[in-house]
Structures are given as C-alpha cells and as structure tokens.
C-alpha cells in the first residue's frame, strides 16, 4: 500500500514536472470537507465516518479545519453540496457513500485543484481517489462465532440491497459458519434500505419467530441488537461497536475505523504528495476492527475467533480460500487458492449451501 502510493505520488510529480508546472508547495493549513448519507447520530456507518474525521482533527490539531454535511441524499442534490464545499475553500473532500460516485466525478471535473475521495465506489480521476474497506474479513470472524453459538442451526441475516459488498459479506459469513457447524443454515431478509429501524426490527422479529437464535445484519441501525437483548439471543453489531445496545446479546461487532486512512490522506495534503489511488483496506491495516468478544461467551470459542481474527490480520488466512463452489455447484476458487479482488468486487452469486434465491 505504501509502495503503491509512493509510486503513484512519484508518477504524479514526474507528470507535473514534465508539464513544466511548479511542484505543489507544502501546505500549512488544510480544510477538509466530509459528506455523509445519513445522520452522524446513527451510531453506525455515518457515525464511524465522523469518528474518523474527529480522529484526523485530533491528529493534526489547529492546522486542519474540517466541515461536514450529514443527511446528504444520493443523487443530484449531492452535486450542489459538493460544489458548495469546494467553493467554500475545502482542499480535500471525502464523499463517504456509494451513491455519491457520479456527482463526485462530475464536481471534481469542475474543480481540478480540489482533491476528492470517494468511499466504496469504482470511478477515479486525477483528483478523485477511491477507498473501501474489506468488510468481509470481519464477517469471517463473526460467521464462525455464529455457527458455533446457534442451537437451532438457523442464523438470521438482515441485508439492505443486493450489491457485491453485501453478497460478499453473506458468503464470507456462511463459509465460516458452515466450517464451524456443517448443519447451519441462513435465513436472509432483504429490506431494500440501509437504515430503517422499523423495518430492521420487524425483520429481526420475523427471523426470531421462525426459529433463528443468532442474528447478523448488514443494515445500519441498532434495532436488531436491542431486540436480541430483549429476547435473550445473540447478535452482532454492524459498522460501530453496538455492545451498549445489547450488553448480553452483542457478541462482538464489525467496526469501521476510518481514522488511519483519513489521517494518511490528509497528511499527504500537507506535504503535497497526494495523488489519486485505489485502496481496499481491511483488518491488517486496522480499518476493519473486531473488538473484544463478549465475556459471556465460552473462553474456548473466544480463543478460536481470536485465532481467526489474528490469522486474517497477519495475512495468513483469506476468508475466500478454495475450494469454493457457487450455489449452482460450479467451482469459482480452486483448492488452495484464494479469490482475487476482481472476483470479490463482482460477486453477484451465493456460495454453495445457501438455501435462498439471490434477488436480481
């Protein structure tokens, strides 16, 4: 990662020199803008991006000024807000949701001197970098825990929309859960919303009524955890550490920790080395964190999960290690190999064993 950014930085400097432009001077003050798709009080995805912003502010002190806009709708209105931030003198703007992709590219074309960073998308430009997190690495750890914890062998999974990031998560969790418990089955409910506490609670309730005793979610609200606590079953937090909502129920969470990335990229603005890049960071880089497992879980199981977590951090284990088959039985990762990033980023299929139909 370091070498890649270094190379990219050198390339950019070389291009600038060749074009006869002065190299960008070091900056004393940087203004960074952030736009979030939901409220920062969601205690989930947006909350964690905001924590990352606060980490950067604590790191750079007075030299860094930040502004943020929450509840930015994905779509044309987002362009207006990005333009406003650029006009207000932001040097770098972080657009933190997938749906901000095209507006970011459009606005970036109008402000070549402003740097843009878009999360979870796939379009770059000279002044647009992209970054994403390997959420599926955390899924492998909680999948193992879920597989061991369920007594009914039914795990409920609440998901927002069928895109590769989400499907990757289901598959990673299922592979790990099946490894831990060959009889396990997933019940999957799509709610077509990233943050809808009412629907998430209804879905969680439906899953429990159908016999699930462990809940997982890829949606952002803590409603399922609150319900799990009340019903005395296990659940896993999403995006943020949700143990406060389920002191007994919350086994652990998959926490997005954007601070290190934001500090690195804003640091590059200060020393003038920023260049476009495409980074997909996970547990080894500390961007995905699985916090300590609830003390009410059997110590042996906790040790197993810790071992899986450590092996991913040390890059000894990849959650998609072959042999792996698609739902229809065809092989997509051969024995002993691991899935490449291209396969993961285009994953629009379930793995073998999931008894459900993937919405198209």
């Amino acid at each position: 990662m370091k070498r890649r950014s270094f190379l990219a930085g050198t390339a950019a400097a070389a291009t600038a020199a060749a074009a006869g432009l002065p190299a960008r001077a070091q900056a004393d003050k940087i203004k960074a803008g952030f736009i979030y798709v939901g409220p920062i009080t969601d205690m989930g995805y947006n909350y964690q991006h905001n924590v990352g912003r606060e980490d950067a502010m604590a790191h750079f002190g007075d030299a860094l000024e930040t502004v943020y806009v929450e509840n930015v709708p994905e779509g044309p209105d987002c362009e207006r807000i990005l333009t406003q931030l650029a006009l207000d003198g932001c040097d770098i703007i972080f657009a933190t949701s997938f749906g901000f992709m095209d507006p970011t590219i459009n606005v970036a074309a109008k402000f070549p001197d402003v740097k843009f960073e878009h999360a979870t998308g796939f379009k770059t430009a000279d002044n647009v970098a992209i970054y994403n997190a390997r959420f599926y690495e955390g899924r492998a750890v909680i999948g193992h825990l879920a597989g061991k914890l369920t007594k009914s062998n039914q795990i409920g999974y609440i998901v927002p929309v069928p895109i590769p990031e989400v499907i990757m998560g289901i598959n990673a969790a299922f592979i790990a859960a099946r490894k831990a418990n060959p009889d396990v089955q997933f019940k999957i409910i799509w709610i077509y919303d990233w943050h809808n506490p009412q629907k998430e609670a209804d879905a969680a309730k439906a899953l429990v009524e159908q016999g699930c005793d462990v809940l997982m979610q890829h949606t952002d609200s803590n409603a399922p955890i609150t319900l799990a606590e009340e019903l005395g079953i296990h659940a896993f937090g999403q995006a943020a550490d949700m143990s406060a909502y389920g002191p007994n129920a919350c086994v652990t969470s998959i926490v997005d920790n954007w601070g290190p990335y934001y500090i690195e990229r804003i640091g590059m603005m200060f020393d003038g080395s920023w260049a476009t890049s495409d980074q997909w960071l996970g547990m080894p880089e500390g961007v995905i964190v699985v916090p300590e497992i609830n003390a009410n879980i059997d110590p042996e199981l906790r040790a197993e999960a810790d071992a899986i977590r450590d092996s991913i951090i040390n890059r000894e284990y990849h959650p998609f290690t072959g042999p792996l088959n698609k739902q229809d039985g065809t092989e997509f990762v051969a024995a002993g190999e691991v899935a490449d990033d291209g396969t993961l980023l285009n994953m629009m299929f379930y793995v073998e064993g999931i008894d459900a139909e993937l919405p198209s």
């Binding site: 939901g38 009080t41 009412q198 629907k199 008894d355 139909e357």
Partner: protein, 307 residues
Amino acid sequence: MGGIDPILLLASLMVASTPILLAALGELVVERAGVLNLGVEGMMITGAVCGFAATVLTGSPWLGFVAAALAGGVMALIFGVLTQYLLSNQVATGLALTLFGLGLSALIGQSYAGITIDRPPSLNLPLLRDIPWLGPIVFRHDVILYLSLAMVVAIWWFLTRSRGGLILRAVGENHDAAHALGYPVIAIRMAAITFGGAMAGTGGAYISIMRLRQWTEGMTSGAGWIALAIVVFASWRSGRVLLGAYLFGGVTVLQLNLQGAGFRIPAVLLSASPYLITIIVLVLMSLSRNARNATPGNLGATFHASN
C-alpha cells in the same frame, strides 16, 4: 406455511400497524373538518422524539405519550394558526410542517441518540390472555394499541352518531353554510387540527417508545405519508382506515416473513407488495358510488367569514 407461525404473525401485524393507524385516524378527523394537513410525518417524528425524551427524563413511558401528544398538538397548532388565521395555503404549509418537524426532531434528539429505554409493560388481561389462538394474538398487547382500536370506534361514533360530529362534517362539507348557521368554523377546525396533531404525535411515540425503545433521526421513515394515503383510499371512514392500516402493516410483516421462510418470490416484488396491495384493495372498495362522493366538499379550501 414453512416456519411461519400465524399466531405470532398476526400479533406482530397489530403492533406494526398501530403507529400508522393512530396518525391516520387523527388525519381522518382533520380532513372531515375540511382541512388538508400534509404535515403528518413532521408531527409524528416530533412526537417520537418528544415522547422518547420525556420517557428518558421522567422514567415513565405514559408521561412520554402525554408529552408526545402535546408536542404533536403544538406542531398542529402552528399549522392551524398559519392556515386558519393567516390564510396560508394548506398544501404548502403542511409540507413545510413536515420539513420543519424532521429538522426540529433531529435538533431535539441530538442528546438522546444512543439511549435505550425499557419496554413498557403489556396490559395484563387475566383469563383473556389464555384463550387459545385469540389470546396470544389479541389480548397480550400494550394499552396504547387498545387505545388506538377504541379510537376507531369512538371516531366512528362521533362522526356518524353524534351532534358534534354532524357539525364537524358540516364545516368540512360546506363551511359557508355552516358559518351561516352560526357555527364557529375556525374554532371547530382548530380543534380538529389539534386533535389530529395529538394523534400523529402519539403514533410517532409508539414507534420510539414501544416498538424500538430508542431515538434515531428520521425513524418514522415515511409512516406519516402512508397514513395520509390511507385516509384518502379509505374514503374518509374510520373502519376502512383500520382495514387499510392493518393491511399495510400486515403485508409489511408478512413479506419479511415470506423472505425469511425462503419463499421463491422475488424480494423486490415482496418489498413493494405492502404499497401495491393496500392501494389495490382500498381502490376496489372505493369504487362504489357512495365512496366516490366521500371527499369532504371543502377539503383544503380556505375559509374567511367575509367570503
């Protein structure tokens, strides 16, 4: 049905439908008085946050519901003063009220995000709760849910069987005639508007206090708009409002259950089904001639005594 327990499903249906039912009943009375208040969503969410805050501060969910009704009522009064005394456009003012409510609730709620409250106790109905089938479905709920059902009957009785209801409907059908007969059109409409706000606030608080036991920004997620639509499709009758709300809540819960049970129906279709089925059923029901003439004559019209 594979894995779906009909008893639990029907019980969940009643709980899921109650917020919409409360809000829709309130709006029904408002519209019967000839006022169109599109601010239901804003009043609901304000009720949700104020009810939750009051519950956290006082420790009593029942005081929370009182606070929510008051908050919804105050929001409605703003709408009432603007539209009835300052004669502003009802559609624009209602939309503004929703936007205002969403923003105001986010502001009030800032210090209440991330707190969970205990679930208020259900009403303990001895004997009744032990009836097979019916007991677990109908007799193990909380008092607010029963209040919402009682309101269906009360509003039906008030609108169709009482003198007060006749006057309220007269104001909604033809405010000039009601005025000529000496009825205080503005005062009656203000009362109806406030009642509608209190009901919407209570419905919002049902989400934050009973269902989710927490505050999240934008947590009503469009329930107010559904309530508005149900009033129209129910041709302004309280019994049909109950049907519409339970149908919508029921299909919502059912589609999630069908997905969980692995039924091979496209999830996209299931997700859209609550809207589709509710609209289809209520439109079919409102095809009769009686229902077509059900729109209050002066719905949304501005009244001024000199007209």
